[in-house]
């Protein structure tokens, strides 16, 4: 059973699982009907925030539940209050249903590295055992932390059920729409002055593959999932050919409000902290215990995204290259047409 099937990754996962001969039956749950093709998966309409979800689990008796209904951006939910309700109450309802169910043997949760937060106190690499509680957190960071706390509580109460929490770095790729992808396609990208956060990415296909692996195989535990290597923000913007607009901060009500009201970008506090301080996670356990090797590095993920989504930026790389070639030709006394 895939919960959150109307969203892009949920729909794709349901479709790919239903094509897998090892999986007998796939049920997709969401409040609204999925707009994308979910393959042979059956759609069941249920609201995760109510006991509907319990009845759906009772009726369909799944052995594996994949929870992908945790929303990272408030605009997806239609505001911060519904976002929190879907994330926190939704998870509680879903876990309550799983706890009562006799059939559920495995729960897979799509979480995020946002649970670690971001800040000047943060170590360069977070490993799975570090969850700093002392950092003042709000918004999605808090949700993600609370969701995981409920999941850990569930796994204590039902030790017979295998629980896998996958903490994904930011997912990006040619098709997926996230807060970060929309940020990178802005014609001029607001950044924090004097900061150049480093970050990791996961390609959307790697994200699906990791979820599928956790669903089909038994790999209980908590795992960070991220592509190899790092990018810094300035580097990413140059690779996407986007000029940066340095602002003193993105978080003040004034600047954040203007960005939101002009519909340029809707960034919550967690996103602002991420874009100020960056984040890195240790992926050793992903390789050793989860047995997952991402096909795309952080850089390859970004380039796949940029190739599909951000053509024709103001500072496109080909143009910069052409200028570089000409300039080198001029300065070294060769003819400058070796493009």
């Amino acid at each position: 059973m895939v919960v959150g099937v109307a969203r892009y990754l949920g729909g794709r996962l349901a479709q790919q699982l239903s094509a897998d001969p090892a999986v007998q039956r796939v049920i997709g749950v969401d409040v609204v009907e999925p707009t994308e093709n979910i393959g042979a998966a059956e759609f069941v309409r249920a609201d995760i925030r109510t006991s509907d979800i319990g009845r759906a689990i009772q009726r369909t008796a799944p052995d594996t539940v994949v929870h992908m209904n945790i929303l990272a951006t408030r605009s997806d939910a239609g505001g911060r209050a519904p976002q929190k309700e879907i994330n926190v109450i939704g998870t509680m309802q879903l876990l309550a249903a799983c706890q009562r169910s006799e059939s559920v043997r495995k729960v897979v949760v799509k979480s995020s590295t946002t649970v670690y937060g971001a800040g000047p106190h943060a170590p360069a690499l977070f490993s799975e055992d570090m969850v700093p509680g002392m950092v003042a957190r709000g918004g999605y960071e808090k949700d993600a932390g609370e969701v995981e706390a409920y999941v850990r509580g569930y796994s204590r109460r039902r030790p017979d059920v295998g629980v896998t929490i996958l903490r994904f770095a930011n997912v990006l790729g040619p098709t997926i729409r996230t807060a970060l992808s929309e940020y990178f396609v802005l014609p001029v990208v607001p950044v924090v002055l004097g900061r150049d956060p480093r970050f990791q990415l996961v390609h959307e296909q790697d994200c699906l593959d990791a979820l599928r692996l956790a669903t089909v195989e038994d790999r209980p535990g908590i795992f960070n999932v991220a592509g190899d290597g790092f990018l810094v923000l300035s580097q990413a913007l140059r690779r996407a050919g986007r000029p940066a607009l340095p602002l003193p901060t993105l978080g003040t009500p004034l600047i954040g409000g203007v960005l939101r009201r002009t519909r340029v970008a809707d960034m919550d506090a967690a996103m602002v902290r991420f874009l100020t301080h960056g984040r890195g996670v240790d992926t050793t356990r992903m390789r050793t215990a989860l047995g997952f090797d991402p096909a795309y590095s952080t850089r390859a993920t970004f380039d796949a995204f940029a190739a599909a989504r951000s053509r024709g930026g103001l500072l496109e790389r080909d143009r910069v290259r052409a200028v570089e070639q000409t300039l080198r030709g001029v300065l070294t006394g060769e003819t400058g047409h070796g493009r």
């Binding site: 000047p120 106190h121 943060a122 170590p123 360069a124 690499l125 490993s127 570090m130 924090v192 002055l193 004097g194 900061r195 150049d196 480093r198 290597g229 790092f230 990018l231 810094v232 300035s234 580097q235 990413a236 913007l237 140059r238 690779r239 301080h277 960056g278 890195g280 240790d282 500072l315 790389r317 910069v320 290259r321 570089e324 000409t326 300039l327 080198r328 030709g329 001029v330 300065l331 070294t332 006394g333 060769e334 003819t335 400058g336 047409h337």
Partner: protein
């Protein structure tokens, strides 16, 4: 540009002539300029690598270190001793005394290791949280190879065989008054010793003479410091009286000596959590640095000679 071969040919000739004139004016050779333009091109297209800590070796070698080099060579006339005590490969933890109101000493030590060591190793320095709270500073620090002074980061760096630089006195060292110069402050909780013990990494004691005189701290505007959230607000003979000019460091003569490595791999596992051993080793490092400081000061003679 027009694709007509005649026009292109003429344009090329003009461009080549212009380029030659420009080269002659600047007195640099073509290869150098070529490398520079290529570097700028790579920066502008984002074709470079940073590691997990945000270290950007290309930027560090091409921009950050060259900017510091005149200060190192001409202003402070740094002399380095015992560079052979830094291993050619593998991890080591360099622990040094801290001073100078503004931590210029860590930058100079980083440059000393890079320039004097036969392998041109990068010293990965550890910074306080404050460094990573400040805009611009935090960015440059990460790009230059620094990271936060916390156990996780030290161990991650040592595990990958890096050379790590630590200033265990922290703000107590940099922000101490001029009258207490060359008196080592307390070495924190010895966290760096535990980290070294855990990975069996040798500790290289490093003594820096000269940094104490660059901004003699004669007072501390406590109220301003608290207002700005800083550990201290320095008052020196030139700052803040001369405004930005007061930020020019005094040209003292510097000596940096790397001492003999102290081995930590002969202890049984679990020693890292034994406070007795940790304090003993911490004191050993501290005493070595203090003793060397006294010797180096005598050797140097007058500070501005």
């Amino acid at each position: 540009m027009a694709d007509d071969p005649q026009t292109t040919g003429a344009l090329d000739r003009v461009a080549v002539t212009l380029g030659r004139a420009l080269r002659d004016r600047l007195g640099v050779d073509g290869a150098q300029l070529d490398r520079l333009v290529e570097f700028l091109g790579r920066r502008l297209t984002g074709d470079f690598e940073v590691d997990a800590f945000g270290f950007d070796p290309e930027l560090t070698e091409t921009v950050l270190l060259p900017v510091l080099r005149p200060l190192y060579r001409r202003w402070f006339r740094v002399e380095v001793r015992g560079i052979e005590n830094i291993p050619d490969t593998g991890p080591a933890l360099v622990a040094a005394n801290h001073s100078g109101t503004i931590p210029v000493d860590s930058l100079m030590t980083q440059l000393a290791v890079h320039d004097e060591h036969p392998r041109h190793r990068h010293l990965r320095t550890l910074g306080a949280t404050l460094v990573f709270q400040l805009p611009v500073v935090s960015d440059l620090a990460r790009k230059g190879g620094s990271t936060l002074a916390c156990n996780e980061d030290v161990e991650a760096l040592l595990d990958t065989g890096e050379l790590v630089g630590v200033w265990p006195e922290g703000f107590k060292g940099v922000g101490k008054p001029f009258s207490e110069r060359y008196k080592l402050q307390r070495f924190g909780r010895g966290g760096f010793v535990s980290a070294a013990l855990r990975s069996g990494t040798p500790i290289v004691p490093c003594s820096i003479v000269g940094a104490e005189e660059i901004y003699p701290l004669i007072g501390n505007a406590d109220y301003l410091a608290r207002l700005l959230g800083l550990p201290y607000f320095p008052i020196t003979p030139t700052f803040p009286w001369l405004g930005p000019l007061g930020l020019v460091p005094l040209p003292s003569k510097w000596l940096i000596e790397f001492g003999e490595p102290i081995r930590t791999d002969q202890y049984p596992p679990g020693t890292a959590d034994d406070p007795m051993v940790v304090f003993e080793l911490t004191d050993q490092v501290r005493d070595t640095i203090q003793r060397t400081l006294v010797e180096l000061r005598e050797l140097r003679g007058p500070a501005f000679g």
